[in-house]
């Protein structure tokens, strides 16, 4: 026996070392399935040994870069500053428009009791290293448990999502990138509203899976987070569809170009606090669902001026004098043909989505009133215009005839 062991000593040791490692793998896999995922000591040793050097190199690199860019290389800064100021002005204008849209969207969401996830707090971190392997696409950031980071927190950049926190150490954290093969993010295609799962490929590309092959997806479509994974808030940019092909098992293979440059990450944001709350609207007490829905309905042009009777005009003016937001519906000749009119308690009436054109006998003409003091600006194409809010509605007798 001894001679056999002596003869095959090397092989026996090899088998022994391999067996120990396989045993170690089995233990890890078993523990990994439980809720508590502890960190191996060897990981802490390795990370503790290497990350200080990485931090130091990044610090020196940044210091050198800052000295060069902030003190020596300032060519063209004045022109750039001017261009940026112009850009800010344009963005401010855009912001005003977007704020209006957002306010309106929040009101509607609140009315429908949507739950929203808000990014409440983020921590900026710098990428200091990586796993160095194309089999495990992870990076290390210079913030950890001390800064409040926890496992499964979302990591993003201004361009789009990056990944999630995988392991947290006291002063560093490991982030699993979205292009890793074990990564999975719930996504939604912006236009087609199709939902899928974003996964990484062996070559580091990103694809959307679980979209049926009979769906229509066009290259260039934006991909956003769906919020279904409970890690990323809904609506964060993920990337754009680069290529659509046929995948396995009746599913499409949708290749996505990530919005964030995953191969050259420098600074990232970690979402350390998310707030989930029902959307609220400040003016909920004054605005009812019916009002907002009425605003969204297409407007119907009023009757031609020639047919507008003075009585009707008078009634319209009278309605305009009533509380803001009122609208009434008048009917021509056969009253039975008029759509059902529902009058709310707040003095507002809504009509079903009108299917009628004005000026035709026997058909109802919803008349939207407005305060008499407001100037009349008839729309160029009233049919194509979205319904205006009641307080901005045009007088019936001043709308262009059909």
């Amino acid at each position: 026996m001894e001679s056999v062991l002596g003869r095959y000593r090397n092989l026996v040791i090899l088998v022994g070392v391999l067996f120990l490692q396989v045993l170690g793998l089995a233990v890890q896999v078993k523990r990994g399935s439980s809720d508590t995922q502890d960190t191996r000591l060897i990981r802490i040793w390795a990370v503790s040994a290497l990350t200080p050097f990485e931090r130091a190199v990044v610090w020196i690199e940044n210091g050198t870069s800052n000295i060069w860019h902030n003190y020596f290389y300032l060519r063209g800064v004045r022109n750039e500053n001017r261009a940026l100021k112009e850009q800010i002005e344009q963005m401010r204008l855009e912001q005003v428009r977007l704020t209006e849209d957002a306010t309106q969207a929040h009101r509607l969401q609140a009315l429908l009791a949507f739950k929203e996830q808000y990014v409440a707090k983020t921590v900026a971190a710098q990428v200091i290293g990586s796993s160095g392997s194309d089999q495990s696409r992870t990076v290390y950031i210079d913030k950890g448990e001390n800064e409040g980071l926890k496992r499964d927190m979302a990591v993003i950049t201004a361009d789009g999502i990056v990944g999630k926190v995988l392991t947290v150490y006291p002063s560093v954290a490991q982030v699993l990138l979205v292009n890793d093969q074990s990564s999975g993010v719930g996504v939604i295609l912006e236009k087609s509203r199709l939902q899928g799962v974003l996964r990484g490929t062996p070559t580091g590309e990103v694809t959307v899976e679980k979209v049926m092959s009979d769906e229509q997806v066009a290259p260039g479509e934006n991909v956003l987070t769906s919020g279904g994974d409970q890690i990323f808030p809904k609506g964060l940019p993920v990337g754009t569809v680069a290529k659509v092909g046929t995948g396995k098992d009746l599913f499409l293979s949708i290749k996505v170009r990530p919005a964030a440059n995953l191969s050259k990450l420098e600074e990232v944001l970690v979402l350390v606090e998310k707030q989930q709350r029902e959307a609220t609207a400040e003016d909920l007490s004054h605005t009812r669902a019916a009002d907002i829905l009425a605003q969204r309905l297409p407007s119907v042009p009023a009757k031609p001026p020639a047919e507008a009777s003075p009585a009707a005009a008078g009634a319209s003016a009278a309605a305009g004098a009533s509380p803001a937001g009122n609208s009434t519906t008048t009917a021509h000749k056969p009253l039975a043909a008029a759509p059902k009119v529902t009058t709310g308690t707040g003095g507002t009436a809504i009509t079903p989505k009108p299917q009628v054109q004005s000026g035709k006998p026997g058909e109802a003409v919803p008349v939207q009133s407005k305060p008499a003091a407001e100037p009349a600006n008839p729309p160029a194409n009233p049919v194509a215009q979205p319904a205006t809010p009641p307080d901005q509605a045009q007088p019936a007798d001043q709308n262009s005839p059909n």
Binding site: R9, N10, I13, L14, V17, L18, Q21, V22, G24, L25, A26, Q28, V29, G32, R40, I42, R43, W45, A46, V47, A49, L50, F53, E54, V57, V127, I128, G129, S130, S131, G132, S133, D134, Q135, S136, R137, T138, V139, Y140, L166, T167, Q174, L176, D180, Q181, S182, T201, P202, T203, S263, K264, L265
Partner: protein, 172 residues
């Protein structure tokens, strides 16, 4: 370039100083972890594997080779997000194989080294993917084109690297 067959007595066995034994693998791990931040293509290279092969074929001691491979592999595992032991097992096999090959063959010339690294890269990948898929049921897909390009890149880098690392060799 042919691989020259030599007898055990003709093959020279080298050893390394303690700083080189500890410093070279750690430097390889550091560069492997740090460089992809600036140069993403570096992640296709496997500097720890090249160091494992180099120590294996230089020392020509299978036990030393497999232990070097196991330690380097486990350290590399600890930097990634996957269970510890994937690279550990693969590099243990490579370390053992490189040392055993070093005992039988003289792999001092560039052509022989190129072939040896190419072969061991593929062995390493095969063991890694087998363990990942069979033992851990991980959805790791193998791409042949990607694998061969990476093997060639590692082989060419390895030839250059080995000539640099030869400076640290000490005759026994």
């Amino acid at each position: 370039m042919p691989i020259t067959y030599t007898s055990g007595e003709q093959v020279e066995v080298y050893r390394f100083s303690l700083p080189a034994t500890v410093g070279i693998p750690l430097l390889a791990l550091f560069l492997q972890a740090f460089l992809p931040r600036r140069f993403p293509w570096v992640s296709y290279l496997d500097l720890p594997l090249l160091v494992t092969i180099f120590f294996g074929i230089s020392r020509r001691n299978p036990i030393s080779g497999l232990l070097t491979g196991a330690v380097i592999g486990l350290l590399q595992d600890s930097l990634g997000g996957l269970p510890l032991g994937l690279y550990g097992i693969a590099k243990t096999v490579v370390g053992y194989g490189a040392s055993s090959l070093g005992v039988k063959l003289d792999v001092e010339n560039a052509g022989a080294r190129l072939l040896v690294i190419l072969g061991f890269y593929l062995v390493h990948s095969a063991v890694y993917f087998t363990v990942a898929r069979v033992l851990l049921s991980l959805s790791r897909n193998w791409s042949w084109s990607h694998g061969f390009v990476a093997a060639l890149a590692n082989a060419f880098l390895g030839v250059v690297l080995f000539f640099l690392l030869d400076k640290f060799k000490q005759r026994t």
